[in-house]
Structures are given as C-alpha cells and as structure tokens.
C-alpha cells in the first residue's frame, strides 16, 4: 500500500506545491521549520483542506479536489502521533489506548493490544492518568493509541521534538521497531538529520514549500547539493552489520567488506546498523595517513564538491563502505588539489560518531 500526495496550498507568502509518494516503511519529510512539512501531514490527515490536491492511500482516495472528493478526518483511519502527544486528560492511559478501537470497522487488522503494550513498554502505566506521565511515556502512549485504532497508515509530526536527548533515545527505537514490524506506510516529519539517518526508508526533502529531492536516506544525505539545514548539519549514512564486540569497548562493523570501529553499542552481533557520519568530523587526506590515532580510514574517490561564498566546501567521497560527506575549507580543497575523481582517504574518528546517530 502506497500513500500518494499531490497538493497546492497557499501558506503565508509561500505557495506550498508538493508531490511525492510514500511506500511502506518510513517516509521522512525533512526540512527546516517553516518549509511546510506540518501542513502536508495535516492535509493527509484531513485537518487541513488544500485548495487543490489529490491524496490517496492504496486504492482509497482521501481527497481529489478535481472530483470534489474530501473525506473528513474521522473516516480516513490514519493514526496521527502529534508533537505534543494530545492524550485525553480525563481518561486513563488504558482508556486512551483503546479510544480509537470502537470506531475501527469490525474485523479490521488492528495490532493486538497486548503486543502493542509490550512493544512500547507501557504495561505498568495502564491505570495512570496522562497528567502523571513523563514526556517520553506520554509519547509512547500516543504512539500506542494511534496503532490500536487500526490505522491504514501512521502520521508522526516531529514526535520527538519536544523531548530532551535522553527521552529521544528512549523513543527512537520504538519507531525503528514499528518500521520493521508493522507493514503500513509511516509518514514522519522531522528537522533532525539524526532521525532521518536512523529511521528513513525514503526521504522527501522540503524547502520553501517544494520537494527538492526524494530518495533513500543514504542517497539523499550523501548528496552535498542537498543540505536543507545547512552544511553544518550535513552528514552521510553508512550501513553496516555488527561483527564483533571487542574487550576494549569498541564495536566492529562490516560495511560492504570494510571494517569500521565505533564506541560500543548495545546491539548484538548480526544486527544491521545505520550510522550517520557528521561531515564536520571527517578529515580528508591524499596519502594514506600513517601514525594517526583515528581508527577508520576509508580510501575512495571524490564524487562531488560543492562550495558557495563562504570559506567551507562540502565534498562527497565514494568509498567501498558507501558515500561519505566531508566538510572542509575551500583552502584545503585547493591545497589538496581535490577535483571530481581525485583519489583520497576519508578519516573518521571512532569517538566522533555520536551514539544518537547509530541505530538498528
């Protein structure tokens, strides 16, 4: 089942004009605040009615302004996880969880309640009131409530944005499980590159109300010409499998035959991991460096160089492990005589890979 969106909607001085499709898995709408992401999700949910648009889920048309079709939100059966949870304060956690069940058609394929409660770890909270929950717990309950309404797709609008780093680290794995265990499309809005790197099956980059790029996370994040949040936040994604945990606390990964080392993770041997390598943490060297403390040295060739007026340049290097982005100065690029096709080495410190940038 695929979610297809095409819509036009004035948004302040801007014209929101987007078209994309979201296959099963997580499709991340990525862009800075004000780029129109939330309006798109609200239009899919039916909370906003675009002046012109066609939105369909599988063979069900949710809106077609050409034919005058518009389904009200309660008939769309989409589970929406809001940034601010929006749990019903007068109901217990359990009553919140089952709220949508009575409205789901008979025989619809809802996830079993026990499984959702187990997956989200909210069993001990069931009798509590939302007012007595922490931010992270509230967001888990909101996710469970959406799942138990037997939705045909899940919408999530920056569900982690209101949480601190520790709470984010608590919730993100649940979305990863959801992506891998539930076979419905998930449309996920964020302005965090780390969340894109860890969750996205497909990334749709929004800028000033338009889709500027759509592709896999590895493709989109390693493209130096697509930096919706600026070069400072750029970083490519490498995919690897855990092959060993070493006694000194390091974790060894196999990425397309290349060995990578990063600080120990909890992921068992055999887990497929995605890791985001921040472009500013990558050093480039023409010769293979000797006597260097960095553990990860990836030989490759320059694929693209992008620079503007400022002193910085963003360089993508194709290596056997995948494409890596490096943020260096224009001066260094000139000194190293870097051009498309130049052979060089990307040097990545193990400890420079942040734990929140690694996920299963």
């Amino acid at each position: 089942m695929k979610l297809a969106v095409e819509m036009h909607q004035p948004m302040g001085a801007l014209m929101l004009d987007v078209a994309f499709s979201a296959p099963p898995g997580v499709t991340v709408l990525f862009g800075r605040s004000g780029s129109g992401k939330t309006t798109v999700v609200n239009a899919v949910a039916g909370l906003v009615k675009p002046v012109r648009g066609r939105i369909s889920l599988g063979d069900q048309v949710l809106q077609d302004s050409g034919q005058g079709i518009w389904l009200p939100p309660h008939r769309r059966r989409l589970g929406y996880v809001f940034q601010d949870a929006r749990l019903f304060p007068h109901l217990s956690v359990h009553q919140n969880l089952v709220y949508g069940r009575r409205f789901a058609p008979r025989g619809s394929a809802a996830e079993p309640e026990a499984r959702v409660i187990e997956m989200l770890g909210i069993g001990p909270l069931l009798q509590r009131r939302p007012g007595a929950l922490s931010g992270g717990e509230r967001q888990r309950v909101a996710l469970g409530r959406a799942l138990l309404s037997a939705p045909r797709a899940i919408l999530a609008d920056e569900p982690l944005a209101a949480l601190d780093e520790a709470r984010k680290a608590e919730i993100l794995p649940y979305f990863e499980r959801l992506r891998d265990e539930v076979a419905i499309p998930i449309l996920y809005v964020t302005h965090s590159a780390a969340e894109v790197a860890r969750l996205a099956t497909t990334v749709v980059v929004l800028q000033d109300g338009r889709v500027v790029r759509q592709g896999t996370a590895a493709e989109v994040l390693s493209d130096p010409s697509v930096t919706p949040l600026g070069a400072r936040a750029a970083g490519a994604v490498l995919l690897g499998t855990v092959v060993a945990h070493h006694e000194d606390g390091l974790c060894e990964l196999d990425a397309h035959g290349v060995r990578l080392f990063l600080p120990g993770t909890v992921h068992p041997v055999g887990t497929a991991l995605r890791l985001r390598v921040a472009a500013q943490e990558v050093i480039l060297s023409r010769a293979r460096p000797e006597g260097l403390s960095a553990l990860n040295i990836l030989p490759g060739t320059v694929e693209q160089i992008r620079s503007g007026e400022g002193p910085g340049a963003l360089v993508s290097i194709r290596t056997q492990a995948g494409t890596v982005l490096a943020r260096i100065t224009r001066r260094s690029a000139a000194a190293l005589d870097l051009n498309v096709g130049t052979e060089c080495h990307a040097v990545i410190k193990s400890v420079a890979i942040a734990p929140e940038d690694v996920g299963g």
Partner: protein
C-alpha cells in the same frame, strides 16, 4: 423558628418544582448556544449573542412583559401552545419559562467559558482516531467541560429560585399556582403581621442558596480532579 405554614410550604415546593424544570429544560439549549457562540462562525452570531444576553441587561419587568406579549393568551405563540393544551400565562409552567429565560444567560456564559478552555487540538486528535463530531462532543468535549456545566447548572438554578420581576409580570402572584418564594415574601410583606412568615421564607432562601453554592463548589472540585489528569 416555627414550622412553615401551608402557604409557605406551597411556595417552597413550587419554587423547587419551577426551578428544577426551568434548569433541566434550558440546559441542553444552553449547551448548544454556548457551543455555537464559542466554536462556530456563522452569520447572525452577534445577534444570537445579544438575544441570549438580553434578559441579563433588560429590566426583569420588561422581560416579563415581552413574555406576556408573546406567550400570553393573546400572544401568537401563547395561542398556538394553548391549542396544544399547554397554558403558560398565570400558570406554574409560565413561571418555569420566565425562570428559564432569566437564568439562561448565566448558564450560557459559564458553559461557554469552559468550552473555550477546551483545547481544540484534543478534539482534532479524537477525529484522527475515528470519532465523528457527535462522538467527539460526547467523549471529549462534554467530560472536559463538566466543571463549567455543573457551575452553569447551579447558577441557573439559583437564579431561577430567586426570580421575581419577570415572573410576577408574566404569571402574577397566585398562591399555589405561581407564587414562588420571592413572590410569597413580597406578598407577606404587603399584609400586616406577615413579617414572621416572610422571615421564615427569607431563612429558607438563604439556606437553599448557601447549599447550592457549597454543592457547586464541591462538584466543581470533583470534576476538576477528574479532568486534571493526575
């Protein structure tokens, strides 16, 4: 304080009957009007707001006179209702109507404030979970406005118990028919030696008012705890 005389008892029970009916029948309408004023944008909204609040601002005697013109034996609505067997003028049902009209603005104001305090984003969340407008109202809005609903109901009831000007103008002051507590106090004060009976009714009035106040306080606290989400 001596026991109540039969005429005084009659006034007390009649007042309770009139006020109960007035409150119960106007409550659904008050919720509807409050919801419309708080949430809907429609032509004539300002007019509706004005009409609802009119009895609060106009002299009660004027309200009573208007009721008499419209619902009285020679009024158009009054005649229509009479042919259906419902007489309002000089009848306790008319006293209930007058009390309802006078209490209505107070009810609407209290309920409207509580509806405006409900976060519409919660209602949106309910819609995405599959609830239709009617279900959202019953399962989300109504429980969340319960404190305002209770406050509005008790305020309306208290106003109905105390209504005098519109009632006496519309349905007069007939013992056993339309003589509520305030009308009875007024009547007792008009005759020599009626002061003790009036004093007894005044005491009853104060007790009932205090009781309503305490009840509304504790009910509002209970409802706020339920909604507070702890």
């Amino acid at each position: 304080m001596a026991m109540l005389g039969p005429e005084e008892w009659q006034a007390v029970t009649l007042s309770l009957k009139v006020s109960t009916w007035a409150t119960l029948l106007s409550l659904p309408l008050a919720v509807l009007a409050a919801h419309a004023l708080a949430r809907w944008r429609f032509p004539g909204r300002t007019l509706l707001n004005g009409v609802v609040h009119l009895p609060l601002i106009m002299p009660p005697v004027v309200t009573g006179y208007v009721l008499l013109m419209v619902f009285g034996p020679s009024g158009s609505v009054g005649r229509a209702l009479q042919s259906l067997g419902l007489t309002l003028a000089f009848n306790w049902t008319g006293a209930a109507l007058a009390a309802a009209v006078m209490g209505f603005p107070l009810m609407v104001r209290a309920i409207r404030l509580s509806i405006e305090a409900v976060d519409p984003r919660l209602e949106q969340a309910a819609a995405t979970l599959g609830a239709s407008r009617a279900w959202i109202f019953v399962t989300v809005t109504l429980p969340l406005i319960l404190p305002g609903l209770i406050a509005g109901t008790i305020l309306g009831f208290a106003k109905a118990m105390g209504e005098f000007g519109a009632t006496i103008t519309f349905v007069s002051n007939i013992p056993g028919q339309t003589q509520t507590i305030p009308s009875a106090i007024y009547a007792f004060l008009q005759v020599p030696g009626g002061e003790t009976a009036a004093a007894r009714l005044v005491t009853i009035s104060i007790i009932l008012a205090l009781g309503a106040l305490l009840l509304s306080e504790s009910a509002a606290r209970w409802a706020a705890r339920r909604v507070g989400g702890q």
